[in-house]
Structures are given as structure tokens and as C-alpha cells.
Amino acid sequence: MAKPTPVKKTTANRKAVSGVTLLILIALTVAFVWLGMTGMNMDGQGLYKLLPWLPTTGTESLWREALVPGAQLGETLVMDLAPEAENPLSEEEQALTIQVITARIKDMGWLDSRVEVLEDGTFRATLPKAADDGHIDHVLDARGVFSFADPEGNVFLTGENIQTAGFGMTDISGADYSLSIAFDEEGSRIFGEKTTQLVGQSISLMLDGNTLVSPGVNMPLTEGGVSIPGFALEPAREYAIMMRSGAMPYALEVLSMASGPPTLGEGAAERLVIALYIVFLLVALFLIIRQRLGGLIAAWMLLVQLALSYFFAALMGAGFTLVTLAGIWLAFLVMVFGVAMLFDSVQEDVRRGRSVRQAVKESYSGRSHGTIDVMAALIALSVLVIIVDAQGVIGGFAKVLGVSLLVGLALSQVALRLILNETLTLFGDRSGLYASGVKKKEEA
């Protein structure tokens, strides 16, 4: 005959394990969120830091270094530029100038910048403050007419025949960079013919009439491209950007560079941070009122998802922009959907007389598959969109959304289930703890 004592011991041990597991998870969550808000010095002098990554309204926090604000939500760099032309520019010339400046700024990764013509015919570029790296004016004021010339100075090819350009390290020392240029069909033909003629001599790469570099020609270059070494990092990057953007009708003169407010207005970022946290609080409050302990656990998971999403956005260098926020908060919405589906199913099963544990198990093997379907479809969609538009604004959004959804998938399918089971062990299978109004119906 079985003795009841060992069973009691096992239950007590199981409860202790559940309690410790929950305590560890709570401590980990608190530590992670605390680090997200305050950061941490990794050594005694503070030379190595883990930057905070959770947006707050305070000015003391360094989260803006991890999630660099864009021009719409952060301090801006306002540059006024005047064309070096004797007569005012025509509308076409103004439009072409804006197009080239915009292309160069976007190529540097500052997607939410703004360029416009002022009434006096000057141009105003509004960029994020972080764009002020000491090189931005070199990229924006140069006209950007590239040409190749023979040793006598005769130009035989211009930037119009350049299809694309890039740059990369010439050797592992990291001191010397090469500019890689690919020509169009006509450019390939001309460049091939000229380098065949000039073997043993040199050609010059010129920008706006000034010689940048004059490498020697060792062999005919008939492959449709050339790699020119001898540049430092920043010039190589700037020339590649200018080659890709094309040339402006006139060079520009930088009239002024000053700090400015965000394009969405002073305090917009703080208001947005508060408003989004209020959304989280309202959702959490609703879940707790409706699902009680279950809702509290769900709100906990939603908080972890937000903290992890911001963390990965900061790691990816996504910046504090509307695109990043849209990605994170739409993934949050999908997580809310997952939680709502789960508890709706649990509540329905409990009303039918099942235990909460059975209902959770049933829900994860049944209706909760709907959550996996939604998240899997959206993750697949994110990957496809990243392939279609890797460097653009849609691709940037899809990267943040995809990563946040992966976090949400793991949390909703693994962590939430684990914690629900542990709380069921610790606090008992009482339906009143997980669904409001269920007991009354049972009694009725």
C-alpha cells in the first residue's frame, strides 16, 4: 500500500522549485530592465560601458547614445548652403540639387533628414545631430563632377559613365582604402581602350577639376571596373557617396551649421515615450483586471518583449526613429494578440469545467497555434521585405519588426507557458486566479 508521505514531500519540493524558478526569473527581469534604464560601467574607470537602451524622458540617461535619435525626434544639425552660381538657379537646377543632396544624405544612413529651398534661393538641410561628424560638409558642398584624365590632362571619361562605386580596405593594416568603380557599357569600352594605350603610364582621377590621385597603369583594364588604392577611410567613403549620387549643377558654399530642434517639434520624443508607456500600462491593467494572475504574467512578458526589442534595436543601430518605434510596437501588438488568444481559449475551457492547467495545455496545442501562424507569417514577410528593400526605410522597419517578433514568439510560446505552469504549481489550480467572472458562472 502506497504511503501518502512521499507524495506530500514531492509536492512540497515541486512548489519550492517553482517558487525559486519564479524568483530567479523575476530577479533576471528586474536586473535586465534596470540595466536598460541605467546602463553599467564595465570597468572601474568607466572606459567601457554598457549603455542604457530603454527610452526615458530624463536628460541624464545615456540611452540616446545607444538608440541615436533621428532628425524627427532628436536634436538636429541645420545646414544652410548657397549655390556658387552668379545667377539664381532655375527650378530644374534647384530640383536636381535637392535630389543630389538628398541622395548623399540617405546614402550616409540619415533617412529622416529634410532638404528644402528657402525663399532666397539657398538650400537648408536638416539632419540628425549625430550626422555632425566633421565630414558632412565635405559631402554636401562638393559639386561632385568626377573625371579620368591621361598624363597630359586630357579628360577621356566622366562620372556620367560611372554605374556604381564603393570602397574597402586595401590591406589588413586598415590605413589604406581603395575606391572601387564600375562603369556602364560605354564607360567600360572607353576605359578599356585608354588603359590599353596607357600601360606603363598613369591616369588621374579628378573631382571638380582637382586631381585626387594618379595611379600607374600596369595592365589593360577591360573588365568594366577599376579599384584605385591610396585613400584614407573618410575620403574614400565621401567619394563613393558622391559618385553614387551624381553631380550637382553647381558647388555649394556652407553658410552656417547650427543646432536645431527636432523636425516634429521640441519635446515630441518625450511625449511619444510617455504616450507609448501609457499604452503599455493600459494594456497591462486590462490584462490584470481580466485575467488576474494570468494577466500579470502576460504583462510581465510584454514588458520583457519591449525591453528585449529595444535592446536588439540598439544592437542593430536602428536609432530612435519612427520606423524603429513602429517595428517594436507593432510586434508588441502581435504579442498582445497572442496573449488575448491564449487567455480567451483558457477562459472558455475553464468555463466548460476544465482545470486551468488542462486549459493552458489544450490552448497551447490548439488555438495558440493561431499565434504561431500569425507570427510565422509575419517573420517570413519581414525576411522577404528585407530581401526586396535591404537598405531602404521598409527594410529597416522589417528588420526591427522581424527581430521583435522572434522575441515575441519565444516569449509567448516558451517563457509564458513555463511561467504559467510554475505559478499553477505554486499557487494551485484555482480558476479564480486566472480568469475574472468564471467562478460566478460556475456557481450559477
Binding site: T102, L111, R114, V115, L264, V336, V388
Partner: protein, 211 residues
Amino acid sequence: MKIRSSALITLALAAVVVAVGLVMTFVGGGIRFYSQSAQMTQLDQMFWCMLAVVVLMFIFGFVRYDLPSGLALGTAALHDQLVTLAVTAIASRAFAQSYVMPALVVASAVFTCAFTIPVIREARLIGRGLSLREHTRDEVADMAVKKTRPVLLRVLVAALLIFIAFAISGGGLMFGFALPLLAGILAAGLSAWRVSPYVWAAAASRSKTRR
């Protein structure tokens, strides 16, 4: 394939909105952006991404469930993407758009998935458990819409809260920037409750009849 008249009317109204919006996008000066540089936003990538969304939703529905579900999801994605773009284009006359607009138009796929997939799943589940002599597919679709409504209403409210948080944070300019979100939420809600379940019902009835 006979689709319920209410769904057809909704689709017809959406087609009118889409036609007006697309005409405004391509002919009438295009979508109005808040700055001259943003006005040069290239929409080609957005159209490719929209196409990718529609194709992927169809394939996902077809592979994961069946052909009628694929058709329903593809229709919902097409409806939501085009209506979101059209409403954004029309509303941009009053509320200028930002560089984020293409991403937010494509983001309506999030609402499509969150609203339509549960309805289609539920319809398939209910359809399996009921005698089709006593209930038509349209009735099954009605039941699925009714069953999933409470959950989807909660998600809809959460989505609207997120939109409101964005919209009130940066004045009129920000309201315009967040407008594609609202258009996406409403378009997806409309298609999940009025269109896609009945497209699924019509396609499922047809495939059943053929068998």
C-alpha cells in the same frame, strides 16, 4: 464562386477608394510629403514590397491551410495594402506624409495577419465540426467572425491606442505621419470581418462542389 453580396459591396466600395487613391498617387501630383526631399521618395520599392506581401500571404494560406484560405488571405492582403495606400494618398492632401509612409503602408500586413488569420482558422475549425447539410459555408464564416470578434476587438483597441500615442505626440505633422497606421488598422478590420471570411466561404463551397 459566389461571394456574399455584402462582401461584394464592401469590395466594390474599396475598389472605388483604391481607384481614386491610385489616380491621385500616379496622376494628380502624387502623394503630398512634408518636405521637398521627402517628395522625392521612390515608391518603386514600396510597390514591390506590397506585391511580395500579397504573394506571400496567398502562398502561406495555401501551404499552411488550403487553397480557399490562400485565396482569402491573398484577397485580404491585396485589399488592405491597396486601401491603406489609397486612403493615405487621399488624406495626404490634408496631412502631409513623411519618409516613413512606405514602411507604414507595407506594415498594414501586420494587421492583416492579426485580424484575418484567426478568422480563417476558426472558420476551418467550425467547418470541420458542423454538418454542411445544415449550415452553409457563409453561415460558418459568420460563426467564425462572431467567435473571434471579442479577441480581435481587444487587439483592435490596442492597435488604436498605439496609433493615438503616435498621433498625439507631435502635433498635426505627426498625425499625418501616423495616418497610414490608422488606414491599415481600419482596412484590415474591414477585410477580416466583411470580406475575407466570405471569400473563403465562396472558394471552399466551390472546391467542395467540384469534389
